[in-house]
């Protein structure tokens, strides 16, 4: 049996459409069966509310007198993209303010416009015969703009990998605060309520699909950037007008240590036209699984700790290596439910109708990683192989002499098997002076907790270690923990002389 989109819209217009949310649908299908649910339900509403960094808005400010062709544009000191001529701009959500950094950004500008606040526009230009003006500053409210059209390149992820952290240091990521030693699990997404989890084969969602975006009626443009439905990570590019949005569903946020992002409420009404749609919308949280990924490994291919389902994640704890670890979300299930409920109200009251795609979205493709023509430099490319080592049993005086020669400020300390056991600097030598008699050999004063690197580690990762631990040298060790070189801030300078880029 099939049900036509025309019939569903007729029922919506008559106020007779039967609408349930994606959270209610599994019970409906369990109760009535697939065929029964197809007869009984016309529309299933979905919803999600979470951080959607890849968001922004096109703005048209109208022409000033004398006119200006704006080249660089700031809104409340947040730079907007001006490469689209004259008085158009694109304000991106994650762009930080020039003056307030991560405390304020593009997302806040968007939120301020929607909340009815005035925003300062500042722009410069080199001036042309047709656009003579070189600078402008003015205050604008949303209603002063000709257009303010949100166009989000990548929203409504089908699902998202959960995050944890195996290292001994707290990480501040776009997945929130990740405590050391798998201290917590962070996840995002509404599971069974997520729009694309209810149409994983893109049979009813495509270009032209009506949707709820930030409280406004909008439309799906097509596939989103990084769309990767082949791996279960589809995304959507979506649009709606800022003027019809509500601050309830558009919230600027700052992820500590990461930066500005925008929380968006997105929902799609799914027309129940056939049994396949019914089955897709009956999906439950335990059927949607994601990888729990270790963000402690700073590589694109972060290792997977285990598979988890949204049922596991929503339960509030996940088992890792035999221990229960608290799990919490970054997205709001409560607001996701509000989106689905409000959208259900829109459909029931006839505020929006449903539609089939005017252009389908590819349901099998996979996003691929960046094609890099120049390999990122590795520690091995710039490290200094002339290492001065010292044995842990040598007298402190011997270490002091080596340091005084001025060839190095850091001497790796090795044991009788040549393995790295510590590091000694002038600071450690001073300890021997302050506590005379207590220390006689290198082992007594050396720093034992040595941060190291390896020849194949990317230089960017090693440089971050130097910065994070506030140190100026890293012993480079092989897999036997033998010191084969040193990496210092001076070696990093080699990169800028152009030899290795």
């Amino acid at each position: 049996m099939e049900k036509s989109i025309g019939l569903i819209n007729e029922r919506i217009r008559d106020g007779n459409a039967r609408v349930v949310t994606a959270e209610e649908m599994p019970a409906v299908v369990a109760d009535l069966g697939v065929e029964g649910a197809l007869t009984e339900v016309d529309v299933v509403t979905t919803g999600t509310f979470g951080a959607m960094c890849s968001s922004g808005a096109f703005l048209n400010f109208g022409h000033a007198d004398p006119p200006i062709r704006m080249e660089r544009i700031w809104l409340n000191d947040v730079e907007a993209y001006g490469g689209i001529a004259a008085v158009d701009a694109y304000i991106g959500a994650t762009q930080p303010s020039d003056t307030r950094e991560a405390d304020y950004g593009g997302a806040h500008v968007i939120e301020d416009f929607i909340a009815g606040k005035a925003v300062e526009l500042r722009a410069t230009s080199h001036g042309t015969d047709c656009y003579p003006r070189q600078s402008i500053t003015t205050e604008l409210m949303l209603e002063d703009l000709n257009q303010a059209i949100m166009v989000n390149p990548r929203n409504a992820y089908q699902r998202y990998n959960a995050a944890t952290n195996s290292t001994d240091r707290t990480l501040y990521t776009y997945m929130g605060t990740l405590l050391p030693h798998h201290g917590n699990v962070s996840y995002s997404g509404a599971g069974l309520l997520n729009p694309l989890s209810n149409d994983p084969d893109f049979s009813v969602i495509g270009s032209g699909t009506p949707l709820f975006l930030g409280g406004a009626p909008g439309v799906v443009i097509g596939e989103g950037t990084q769309h990767s439905p082949g791996g279960g990570f589809g995304t959507l590019m979506v649009t709606a007008e800022l003027s019809r949005m509500s601050p309830e569903y558009v919230r600027a946020a700052t992820m500590y240590g990461y930066g500005v992002t925008l929380y968006m409420g997105v929902g799609i009404p799914i027309p129940v036209i056939n049994e396949q749609v019914v089955r897709n919308c009956a999906v439950t949280d335990d059927q949607i699984s994601v990888d729990l990924v270790d963000y402690g490994i700073p590589s694109r291919n972060r290792p997977t700790v285990r598979k988890v389902t949204y049922a596991d994640l929503k339960s509030g704890s996940v088992e890792i290596d035999g221990e229960e670890v608290r799990a919490s979300s970054l997205s709001s299930l409560r607001r996701a439910r509000q989106v689905a409920a409000e959208l259900a109200e829109w459909v029931t009251s006839g505020k929006i109708e449903v539609a089939l795609p005017t252009r389908p979205i590819n349901s099998t493709k996979k996003a691929h990683p960046m094609h890099e023509t120049i390999r990122a430099p590795r520690v091995g490319d710039i490290m200094d192989r002339r290492v001065i080592r010292i044995a842990e049993t040598e007298e402190i005086r011997a270490a002091a002499k080596k340091l005084l020669k001025g060839e190095t400020n850091h001497i790796p300390v090795i044991n009788d098997e040549d393995r790295l056991v510590g590091i000694i600097t002038t600071y450690d030598i001073s300890k021997a002076v302050v506590w005379p008699g207590k220390a006689s050999v290198v082992r007594d004063v050396m720093t034992r907790d040595v941060i190291t690197t390896t020849p194949d580690e990317p230089v960017d990762i090693a440089a971050r270690k130097l910065e994070q631990h506030n140190i100026s040298a890293l012993p480079v060790v092989d897999d036997q923990r033998r010191v084969i070189a040193m990496l210092t801030a001076i070696d990093l300078g080699k990169l800028f002389r152009g030899k290795h880029r």
Binding site: L179, G316, R326, S328, R335, R337
Partner: protein, 129 residues
Amino acid sequence: MKLMITFSKKEGRKPIIAQAVKDTGVLINVERAFIDSSEGEALIDVPDDQCTLVRERMKALGASVRVLEHGITLDEDECVDCGACVSVCPREVFSMDAGGKLVVDEERCVICGKCIKACPHRALSLKFE
């Protein structure tokens, strides 16, 4: 009642907490402390009816004392019930009710501040008396 005690440099190594316990006879629970050679900060819990006694004694011993009327404070207008605070809290102050609304049990809070950083919406803060 929770008190935040700050020791400044000039008191040096005087055992202020121990001295205050000895002088007042009030059993103090140290919930969190950060003390190094020059300064320090400690969060202590004292019975409500003996709060003034302990507070005055500590002040006399040279510490500065702030009463924490509240643990962490939630700004309901900013909170979107995301839950970013829930798993970072060492004391399980935060939980979600059946409707997905954030519930704060501020009695349990030891003002560690982890949730303040973790909140993407700047909805959590500390209020001193």
